[in-house]
């Protein structure tokens, strides 16, 4: 198997596989990370090794901080303590802070306290480890305790007893944002970087002329026409949440991973896939997830929040909001500012 050689001279190098893009001016590589796949695309191509190494570093750290599937993660240690007051690392404090800010911004639609509900539904381990075979019935649904009961003051976290955090609505976005920043820091002032983490994409530096060409789809292979669209990302980020993937069966019921915190059950609104664009990937990630949960109120919330978005209904109908382009090849609009990072909150 071909590998990206020279990434820190470590075993991590072997995990990055070159990805043919059909373009000589850019180079791309992909590896598994955070229970999903990470892709790094750069120009000039000579920056790939350094960018992959930088992405490795930050994604590895984020996994050790925020994964609820790793026994040895910082978040798992917090959960094992059963609630109380904790002094978090800066990285986990930022990740939790972003999740809480996203909950505040989305009025609880993207709530990080859905961890217990997800576990009750059977999503209690890395998704790839969940048996595809139908299991026993899920537990009785457990509504989320509520993000507002969690207190974070700098690195000090107060977690109510029994509350389990799931940072899934923002963590991939945080990871993509961090990876882009780290890659640009090592790549230097010239060139550009794109990082995709499980389909949530952030870019930094200088975009190729007209923007990075990205496919907006429901499935990662992009073969879901007529649902897919080719657009250009000139800056910022785009993220997609979908109930068509990460599905499993329990007790004769088909479940998915986007949980409505009000019910503790998988969201059952009219939209099956939502893509959103924002300046940061964490913002886009949170907005897309919130729109799925919002159901019939998604359009109103997205419009009020000023988030460009593309919604695909269960009937396949596509709705575009906030200046989302209708035609292929157009640049994605990105609204400046952040609702979830401390630097952007107003």
């Amino acid at each position: 198997m071909a590998t990206v050689t020279g990434v820190s001279g470590s075993a991590a190098a072997a995990l990055w596989r070159p990805v043919p893009t059909g373009e000589d001016a850019v180079a791309a590589a992909e590896r598994a990370a955070l229970g999903t796949s990470a892709r790094v695309v750069v120009w000039p191509p000579g920056n790939l090794k350094a960018a992959c190494a930088a992405a490795d570093e930050v994604l590895g750290v984020l996994d050790r901080q925020a994964s609820r599937f790793r026994w040895d993660s910082e978040l798992s240690a917090v959960h094992r303590s059963g609630g109380g007051l904790f002094l978090l690392s800066d990285g986990l404090a930022e990740a939790v802070g972003v999740a809480l800010a996203a909950a505040r911004w989305t009025r609880g639609l993207a709530d990080p306290t859905v961890g217990g509900a997800l576990i009750g539904l059977g999503y209690d381990r890395d998704f790839a480890a969940i048996s595809p075979e139908p299991g026993g019935p899920p537990d009785e649904p457990v509504p989320a305790p509520g993000w507002y009961r969690v207190r974070l003051d700098g690195p000090l976290l107060r977690l109510p007893a029994g509350t389990q955090l799931d940072l899934g609505a923002t963590a991939k976005g945080v990871g993509a944002d961090r990876a882009v920043r780290a890659a640009m820091a090592v790549a230097g002032p010239s060139g550009g970087v794109l990082v995709s983490l499980g389909g949530d994409i952030a870019v930094g530096g200088i975009a190729p002329l007209g923007g990075w060409p990205v496919t907006v789809a429901e499935r990662p292979d992009g073969n879901d026409a007529p649902g897919s669209q080719l657009l250009r990302l000139t800056g910022g980020a785009v993220a997609t949440s979908s109930v068509t993937c990460r599905r499993w069966r329990r007790g004769g019921r088909e479940l998915h991973h986007i949980v409505d915190p009000r019910t503790g059950l998988p969201a059952d609104g009219p939209w099956r896939t939502v893509s959103a664009a924002a300046q940061t990937c964490a913002d886009a990630n949170a907005a897309a997830t919130a729109a799925i949960v919002a159901g019939t109120r998604a359009e109103g919330w997205l419009a009020a929040a000023g988030v460009p978005a593309r919604l695909v209904g269960h009937d396949g109908q596509v709705r575009r909001l906030g200046g989302w382009p209708a035609a292929d090849g157009q640049p994605l609009p990105v609204t400046r500012g952040s609702h979830v990072y401390a630097w952007g909150r107003r």
Partner: protein, 131 residues
């Protein structure tokens, strides 16, 4: 200091003017001070206006005039990375035509479909097992 000496306004008069203190001198001095203050105010105003204009000019150079929605690159994350957005001399952004990434449902590792009434689970797992 000579205790008998009348000290006008806290200042010691120069010797040649010692005897010329009269009713007009304080008036003239007050006029001069007023004039100086007026000039200082104008100078301060000019400085403020100039500084503001310079700041606006610099901001226009630092922030693209067009919003990101029209295709201007912005930093992907909070703090802009060092040098991000500033091309090195002689560097030209390439033209890229093919899609280089896909935004989609989060990192599909399996997908479930119903075919002829039966549940079919397909593992896509783009990079499963490598980590």
């Amino acid at each position: 200091m000579d205790a008998d000496h009348d000290d006008p306004g806290g200042r010691l008069p120069l010797a040649e003017f010692e005897n010329s203190y009269s009713a007009e001198r304080p008036v003239a001095r007050r006029d001069g001070i007023r004039h100086a203050r007026r000039m200082s105010n104008w100078t301060a105003a000019a400085l403020i206006v100039g500084t503001g204009a310079a700041a606006v000019a610099l901001a226009h150079q630092a922030v693209p005039a067009a919003p990101p929605a029209t295709g201007t690159a912005v930093s992907a994350a909070g703090a802009a990375p060092p040098g991000a957005g500033a091309a090195a001399p002689g560097t030209a952004a390439p033209q890229v035509g093919h899609s280089v990434a896909t935004t989609s449902g989060s990192g599909v590792t399996t997908t479930t479909r119903t075919v002829n009434g039966k549940t079919v689970v397909t593992r896509i797992a783009p990079a499963r097992g490598d980590d």
